[in-house]
């Protein structure tokens, strides 16, 4: 019997790295197949080869018994392969219908396309307005655009690259209902995710990659999430432990701060108030674009508030500069690793100097002490297990997870009174994420106050003492983690974003 889709001995090398080394796996029609692996294990290279963005060095693929060697994505699309990208391949200034037409092999006329979008949308519980501009949509709605773009081409094989990393639990439920329905109609789905519990819930089979090779194939339902993680990493690692400690005096008090929206799609902050005590980790949950960046930049001092006040150890910050906030002990690790937290074209010593100059006394009378800065950078690299060829490497040459460890480590080693981190483990593999979470817990245990802004609910539940939810610029009252159910959090995060659930689908997602 010929398999529905088969990958045989596929290899691809980039200069200096064997991205895929004789990778083989196969899928049946209607199968949901997970592709697991850490960052840099070769998952994206593999799917890029299937989708025709990258050409393999050797090996073969067969789809429905026919050889499959797409020269470019349009060939792959015409053969029934569709892909939803991790970083959405959408055009913000264009409408939903225009975005969908761009990804289609032979798009119909505008009027008919609008009808098709509405019809497919209601069929799969993914309503969309074809004439809305994509830049105005929520993240969940944007993903719907990508999915409908794929569905309209009637795909035989659908590739999904980390589709749930930005969704609320409710949106994830709807997505899974859609995927199960598709699979039951015979579409094969190749599903990439870091979220092991989701994979156990959704997928029939899993192929696990490590360093470009297939290390295991298994049925994820039969394994625990921990076993899966250990297969990915190749060794056992410990989940973060939360030390029990009583909280001390308030270190960071935010009193009713408001911020008017800026020129580019800014979300206004509305009377945001919270207090973080010594030893406490406050998790701020919420979907991206609900005011996280605005909140973090008012704390860092990049934006000055219109009203309200921020106090560190009881002292009002007012309009104090970024540098003096750092001197007071309020440190911030922003979300964007490259371009905001670190400069890609500068080496790690220079990057360490950029935020550490004052607190680590890396400069005297305005003259940089590079020897001291190098020692500081090396300390970060050693203490936080940053995998790099040395302190002289450029920040841009590090993988996402390693740079994130460096960025967080750089702030933690400066012994902050208050540390604010935004999306600390976004796009970071399981082992590095666990290390970062542990470091935040240790920091709090050593007597700092931590504010962790994250979209990843599991992460916040794991590390936070209490959680508040940011939704459209308003912050809910922080409550201890134990007092929430996941559904409550999801609803606070903006719930279902006006998706009308049919009874059947809500059963599926429950």
């Amino acid at each position: 019997m010929t398999e529905f889709f088969e990958v045989g001995e596929l290899s691809k090398a980039y200069p200096g790295v064997q991205a895929n080394d004789r990778v083989s796996f196969s899928m049946d029609a209607g199968e949901i197949h997970a592709l697991l692996g850490e960052n840099g294990s070769g998952k994206s290279t593999l799917v890029k080869m299937i989708y025709g963005i990258v050409r393999p060095d050797s090996g073969r693929m067969t789809l429905l018994g026919q050889p499959h060697a797409p020269a470019n994505p349009s060939v792959a699309r015409s053969r029934g392969i569709a892909m939803v990208f991790q970083h959405f391949s959408l055009f913000n200034a264009l409408t939903v219908a225009e975005n969908i037409a761009l990804g289609m092999h032979r798009p119909p006329r505008a009027r008919r396309l609008d009808d098709q979008i509405r019809a497919t949308g209601s069929n799969y519980g993914l309503p969309l307005n074809p004439n809305a501009r994509v830049g105005d949509l929520s993240v969940g709605e944007r993903q719907r655009v990508e999915i409908i773009r794929c569905l309209l081409q009637d795909p035989k094989l659908l590739i999904m690259d980390e589709p749930t990393s930005v969704l609320t639990p409710q949106e994830t439920g709807i997505l899974f209902a859609t995927l199960r329905k598709l699979a039951s109609e015979g579409t094969a789905i190749l599903y990439i995710s870091h979220k092991l519990e989701e994979i156990r819930d959704l997928c029939n089979n899993a192929t696990i990659l490590r360093a470009g090779r297939v290390v295991a194939t298994c049925s994820p339902q039969e394994k625990s999430a921990r076993e899966l993680a250990e297969m990915m990493v190749g060794s056992s690692f410990s989940a973060p432990e939360r030390p029990n400690s009583a909280f001390g005096e308030p270190l960071l008090e935010v009193r009713g701060i408001s911020l008017r929206p800026g020129p580019t799609f800014g979300t206004p902050l509305k009377e945001v108030s919270f207090t973080v005590k010594r030893g406490e980790i406050l998790g701020i949950a919420g979907i991206a674009g609900n005011g996280q960046d605005e909140l973090v930049s008012t704390l860092s001092g990049e934006a000055s508030v219109d009203s309200g006040d921020i106090l560190v150890s009881g002292a009002s910050l007012g309009r104090t500069s970024l540098e003096s906030r750092r001197r007071l002990g309020l440190l911030v690790a922003p979300e964007e690793r490259i371009g905001h937290a670190a400069a890609a074209e500068m080496n790690l010593v220079e990057n360490a100097f950029l935020t550490g100059a004052d607190r680590m006394e890396l400069a005297r009378f305005g003259i940089a002490n590079w020897r001291k800065a190098r020692k500081f950078a090396e300390a970060i690299i050693e203490k936080f297990d940053v995998r790099t060829t040395g302190a002289a490497s450029y920040a841009g040459s590090l993988s996402g997870g390693n740079l994130q460890k460096f960025v967080i480590g750089r702030e933690i080693l400066q012994d902050p009174l208050v540390l604010v981190v935004n999306q600390p483990t976004w796009g970071v593999d399981a082992a590095a994420a666990a290390a970062i979470r542990q470091a935040l817990l240790d920091l709090a245990a050593s007597g700092s106050a931590v504010v962790a802004v994250s979209q990843d609910l599991d992460e916040l539940i794991e590390i936070s003492s209490s959680i508040a939810v940011l939704n459209n610029g308003s912050l809910s009252q922080p409550r201890p983690v134990a007092n929430y159910t996941r559904d409550e959090l999801g609803i606070l995060m903006g719930g279902t974003h006006d998706i009308r659930l049919t009874a059947e689908e809500s059963n599926d997602s429950a």
């Binding site: 990258v54 470019n72 994505p73 391949s89 959408l90 055009f91 761009l102 830049g135």
Partner: protein, 310 residues
């Protein structure tokens, strides 16, 4: 001061003629920028068009041949820009500035022996008795062929960008080059096309200047019109019909100030000559600064270098 000597009908007609050079240059640059390419060499391409059009018209005796020569010359210069920025990944801003300087220098060299010569005059389109009609005759039927061509061009560009599949691909490339590449669009090829179109339009704009507007060749004849065209694209929020509006405004104020100078208005002529630049920029800044999402016109990948990876 005798304002009655300014004939409003004649003013409108000449205003349209005065706006043509920057209109052509701006509509071409608009298409290039929509595809994500910032070509600061508009001034250079215009003046190369002006001199080549002039030389070709004088040598062949045919102004139409001049316009085509200008188109080719502008396109050739923009092709150079395209090769440098798209294939060799040179910096767009620096290359564009260099292109302007290069164009100004080369045009001076080419035009050296053509100063003071009168080019063959441009044929009027005969509308017969229609142009004899009072008011309407002068307003609608009294122009040269290029004015009518410009009207067709703006509608064509608007239709292409907003309604056609090719235009959608072009906008997509300008909006998010990586996504367009991932979907299988040929970013560099689309951009090269847009750059060359921009160059050809700038060339025509230049030829309009040297063959029709002021029918003679003088060194530096464009006098910054290319820069105004560049500003026009930004302030019109990358919308074709707003480019027309801005070009008319610029042409209108240019003429008005010339007329005011001619009738001896008691305003320092220095201020009057500044007026067209100031009024155009202020008016367009006011338009583009109001209304929600007005800033969204800027293509997301404008001026970013593109390297196909993987």
């Amino acid at each position: 001061m005798d304002l009655s000597s300014i004939n409003p009908l004649l003013l409108i007609a000449t205003m349209i003629a005065a706006s043509m050079p920057i209109f052509f240059a701006a509509i071409g640059e608009l298409v290039a920028e929509k595809s994500g390419v910032l070509n600061l060499g508009v001034e250079g391409m215009m003046i190369i068009g002006a001199v080549c059009g002039f030389v070709a018209a004088v040598e062949t005796g045919s102004p139409i041949a001049g316009v085509f020569a200008a188109m080719l010359a502008g396109a050739a210069l923009s092709l150079l820009f395209g090769l440098l920025t798209q294939l060799l990944h040179a910096n767009q801003v620096a290359t564009g500035l260099a292109l302007t300087l290069f164009g100004l220098g080369l045009s001076a060299l080419i035009g050296q022996s053509y100063a003071g010569i009168k080019p063959p005059s441009f044929p009027q389109i005969g509308f017969g008795t229609l142009s004899e009609l009072p008011v309407i005759g002068a307003l609608l039927f009294g122009y040269d062929a290029l004015v009518y061509a410009s009207a067709v061009l703006v509608v064509a560009v608007w239709w292409f960008l907003g309604r056609s599949r090719g235009g959608l691909a072009l906008r997509a490339v300008g909006e998010n080059q990586d996504a367009a590449h991932a979907l299988g669009y040929r970013v560099v090829a689309i951009r090269m096309g847009a750059i060359v179109f921009g160059g050809a339009c700038a060339g025509v704009g230049g030829a309009y200047l040297s063959l029709l507007r002021v029918p003679q060749w003088t060194e530096g004849a464009t006098a910054g019109a290319g820069w105004i065209a560049l500003a026009l694209v930004v302030f019109s929020s990358w919308k074709p019909f707003r480019v027309v509006l801005g070009a008319f405004l610029f042409g209108g104020v240019t003429l008005l100030q010339l007329n005011l100078q001619a009738v001896g208005a008691e305003i320092n002529p220095v201020y009057l000559s500044m007026a067209p630049y100031l009024v155009t920029i202020v008016a367009l800044a006011a338009i583009s600064g109001t209304g929600r999402g007005a800033h969204l016109g800027a293509p997301g990948s404008l001026g970013k270098p593109f390297h196909a990876s993987g």
